[in-house]
C-alpha cells in the first residue's frame, strides 16, 4: 500500500503548518490558561477549508479525503490539541453523520455552514451513566404528532456550546429495550437538534484537566421538541450509524496523537541538545538520548498506522480493525511521549510556559474519547475471533 502523500497534500501540509505557527502557536498558552475557545481562529480555519476537507464541493466542501484531513489535524496538533480536536470533532462528529445519513434536504440545510467553519456541529452520544456502553442509552424520544419529544441527559459533548454551534446530533431510544430485544440495545435513533431549541439546555463548561481551549458541555433535554423531519437516518439506525462514524473519527484522533508525538520528539531533541548539566548537553547521556530515540520510533509507527488506516478508508476498504489498532497504539504512545518529553524538560516541563506541560495534560483524554483503549482492545480481540464479551 502506497502511503506517499501527493504533492498537493504536502503543499497543503506546509500551509496548515504556517497557519498554525502564525495564528495559533503564539496564543495557545494564553487560551489554555484562560479556558478560551477562540471562535475567530476556528472561523479562519474554516476559511482555509479545513472543516470541509472530506466533503464534496456541492455542500461547500473541498472534495478531498480523510487522508488530507489527517494531515491538517496532525499539523494543528503539533502546536495545539484543543484546536485539533475542535476540527476533528467538527468534521467527524458534527458534519459527518449528516453527510453520511442525512436526507438531501438536511445536507443542504446544515453542511454548507459546517464545511465553511461558519458553524459547528456536535454529536451527543455519551450520557452521564454510560459512554462505552452506547447501547445503554437512556435518553428517550417519543413521537407526538409530527414532532419528536426528547428527554434525557448527555455528557462531555464537544463543540456543543460554542457561539457558532448550529446543530447537535443526539442519540435517543425510540423503543424500549425489550421491544427490539437482543443484547438490550433496543431501538436507538439519531435526531438533529438545532442549537437554541426550547428544552435543550447547554450546561456550563466542564473544568477539565486538558483541552482547555476546546468546548465541552453536558446537555439536558427536557421536553425538547424537534420536527419529525429531524430524524437523522432511519428510525432505529442510530446505533449502527454512530459506530460507522466512530471508525473514521478514531483515525482522525490517531492523526492528533501523531502530531502530539512529533511535537514531543522535536521539542525534546532541541532541548536535549541545548540544555547543559554536568558540563555537557543532557542529550549526551544515553538515558536521555535513548528515550528520545524511542520517541522517533513512536512517531514513525504512529505515522504508518494512521495513514494506512486513512488510505484504507479513502480506498473504500473496511477500516474497523485498522482504525482501532491505529487509535490504540497512537494514543497510548502519545501519552508516553508527553511523559518522556516532560521528563527531558525537567522542572521546565512542569510549568505552563513550556508546551510539553500542556501536551502532558492534553494527551490523556486521547486514550478515553471516541472509544477508550479498552474498547479498542475489545474491537481488536473480536476481530481475532476471541470469545470476549
Amino acid at each position: 500500500m502506497d502511503l506517499e502523500l501527493s504533492a498537493e497534500q504536502e503543499a497543503f501540509r506546509l500551509v496548515v503548518r504556517d497557519f498554525a505557527a502564525a495564528e495559533i502557536a503564539p496564543h495557545a498558552e494564553a487560551w489554555d490558561r484562560d479556558h478560551h475557545f477562540p471562535v475567530e481562529v476556528v472561523q479562519a480555519m474554516g476559511e482555509l477549508g479545513l472543516f470541509g476537507l472530506p466533503f464534496p464541493e456541492a455542500y461547500g466542501g473541498s472534495g478531498a479525503d480523510l487522508t488530507t484531513l489527517c494531515v491538517a489535524i496532525e499539523e494543528l496538533a503539533r502546536v495545539d490539541h484543543s484546536l485539533a480536536i475542535t476540527l476533528s470533532a467538527g468534521v467527524g462528529l458534527g458534519a459527518s453523520p449528516i453527510f453520511h445519513f442525512g436526507t438531501e434536504e438536511q445536507k443542504q440545510r446544515w453542511l454548507p455552514d459546517l464545511c465553511a467553519g461558519r458553524a459547528l456541529g456536535a454529536f451527543g452520544l455519551t450520557e452521564p451513566d454510560g459512554g462505552s456502553d452506547a447501547g445503554a442509552t437512556r435518553t428517550r424520544a417519543v413521537a407526538d404528532g409530527d414532532e419528536w419529544v426528547i428527554d434525557g441527559e448527555k455528557a462531555f459533548i464537544t463543540n456543543s456550546g460554542t457561539a457558532i454551534t448550529s446543530v447537535i446530533t443526539v442519540t435517543a431510544r425510540t423503543a424500549a429495550p425489550d421491544v427490539a430485544g437482543g443484547a438490550g440495545k433496543g431501538e436507538i435513533s439519531a435526531f438533529l437538534v438545532p442549537a437554541g431549541t426550547p428544552g435543550l439546555e447547554v450546561q456550563p463548561p466542564y473544568r477539565k484537566m486538558g483541552w482547555h481551549a476546546s468546548d465541552t458541555h453536558g446537555l439536558s433535554l427536557a421536553g425538547c421538541r424537534v420536527p419529525a423531519d429531524n430524524l437523522l437516518g432511519s428510525r432505529g439506525q442510530g446505533f449502527r450509524s454512530f459506530l460507522a462514524i466512530l471508525d473514521e473519527g478514531r483515525i482522525a484522533i490517531s492523526a492528533l496523537a501523531l502530531g502530539c508525538i512529533e511535537a514531543c520528539l522535536a521539542l525534546s531533541t532541541d532541548y536535549a541538545g541545548e540544555r547543559h548539566a554536568f558540563g555537557k548537553p543532557i542529550g549526551s547521556n544515553q538515558a536521555v538520548a535513548f528515550s528520545i530515540a524511542d520517541l522517533a520510533v513512536m512517531a514513525e509507527n504512529a505515522r504508518n498506522l494512521t495513514y494506512k488506516a486513512a488510505a484504507l478508508r479513502d480506498a473504500g476498504r473496511p477500516i474497523t480493525r485498522a482504525a482501532a489498532v491505529a487509535k490504540l497504539y497512537t494514543t497510548e504512545a502519545a501519552v508516553t511521549a508527553t511523559r518522556v518529553a516532560t521528563q527531558v524538560f525537567g522542572g521546565y516541563g512542569f510549568v505552563d510556559e513550556t508546551p510539553v506541560s500542556r501536551f502532558y495534560r492534553d494527551a490523556k483524554i486521547l486514550e478515553i474519547g471516541e472509544g477508550t483503549s479498552e474498547i479498542q482492545r475489545l474491537v481488536i480481540s473480536r476481530s481475532l475471533g476471541l470469545p470476549v464479551g
Binding site: 497543503f12 476559511e47 477549508g49 473541498s62 472534495g63
Partner: protein
Amino acid sequence: MNVVVCVKQIPDPATPGALDPSTNYLKRDGKLILDDSDAYGVEMALQLVTAAGGGDVTLVSMAPNNESSGLRTGLAMGAAKAILVSDPSLAGSDALGTAKVLAAAIKRAEPELVIAATESSDGYTGTVPEQIAALLGFPSITFAKSIEIADGTAKVDRQTEAGYDEVSAPLPALISVTAGVVEPRYPSFKGIMAAKSKPVDTITVADLGLGADQVGEAGARQEIVAVTAAEERQAGEIVEDDGESHLKIVQFLETQKVL
C-alpha cells in the same frame, strides 16, 4: 482590470543558502519557493481585481530549471495564470538583465497595473521593479502601503520614514508594495488543487525576441569581483550600574544619532 504580479521564486530561507564558489552566484538548484515578499503583491492584486469587479491576475517570474513551485502557491491563492521565463542562457543575469526579461514577458499580458515587491528576500537590490517600469515606459510608485484604483488612476499611500505621502499615477503603472500593504491569504486545499490545472506559459529568451547577448552572463553589466563574509556580531558592552548608567545610555544613543 488585468494585473500582473512579478513573483520571484527563491531558495527556501529556512534552509541555509550557499554561493557557488566558482561564480559567487547563489545556488538555486534545489526546490524554489514563492518569496514571502511577493505574497503581499499577489494578495493586493487579487483584492484590486475583486474590487474592480472583473479581470485576471497574471504572475510573471524568471527562474531556472522551469521551476514553478512558487508560482503554484500564487495560483493556489487565486491568480489565474502565470508566465515563466526559464532559459539556460539567463544564468548570470544581473538586475537589469532580469528587468529586461520581465518587462518583455509582462508586455505579453498587456496589464493595466504591474505589482512587484519593494525588494526580494534573497537578492534585495530593490532595483528590478523601477527598471521594469522604465523599460515599459510606465510611471512607477515605490513603497506602497495601500493602493486604490479609480478612474484609470492609482492612488497610493507611499511609506516614508516620517509617515506616508499620498501620490497618484495614471494607469498603466508599476507599483512596488511593502509587507504592510495587505495580509496575504493562506491558500486553501481547493485552491491548491485548482492551481494544478491553471496554465503556466513557459517561455524562453528567444520567445521574447531578446538577443542572447542582452541577458544572462553575456549581457550583465555588473560583475561580482569578490565576496567577503559579513563581520561577526561584536560582543555587546556591559555597563555596571553605578547609579549613572542612564547617562551612558543617553551618550550611546547620541553617538548613534537616535537622539
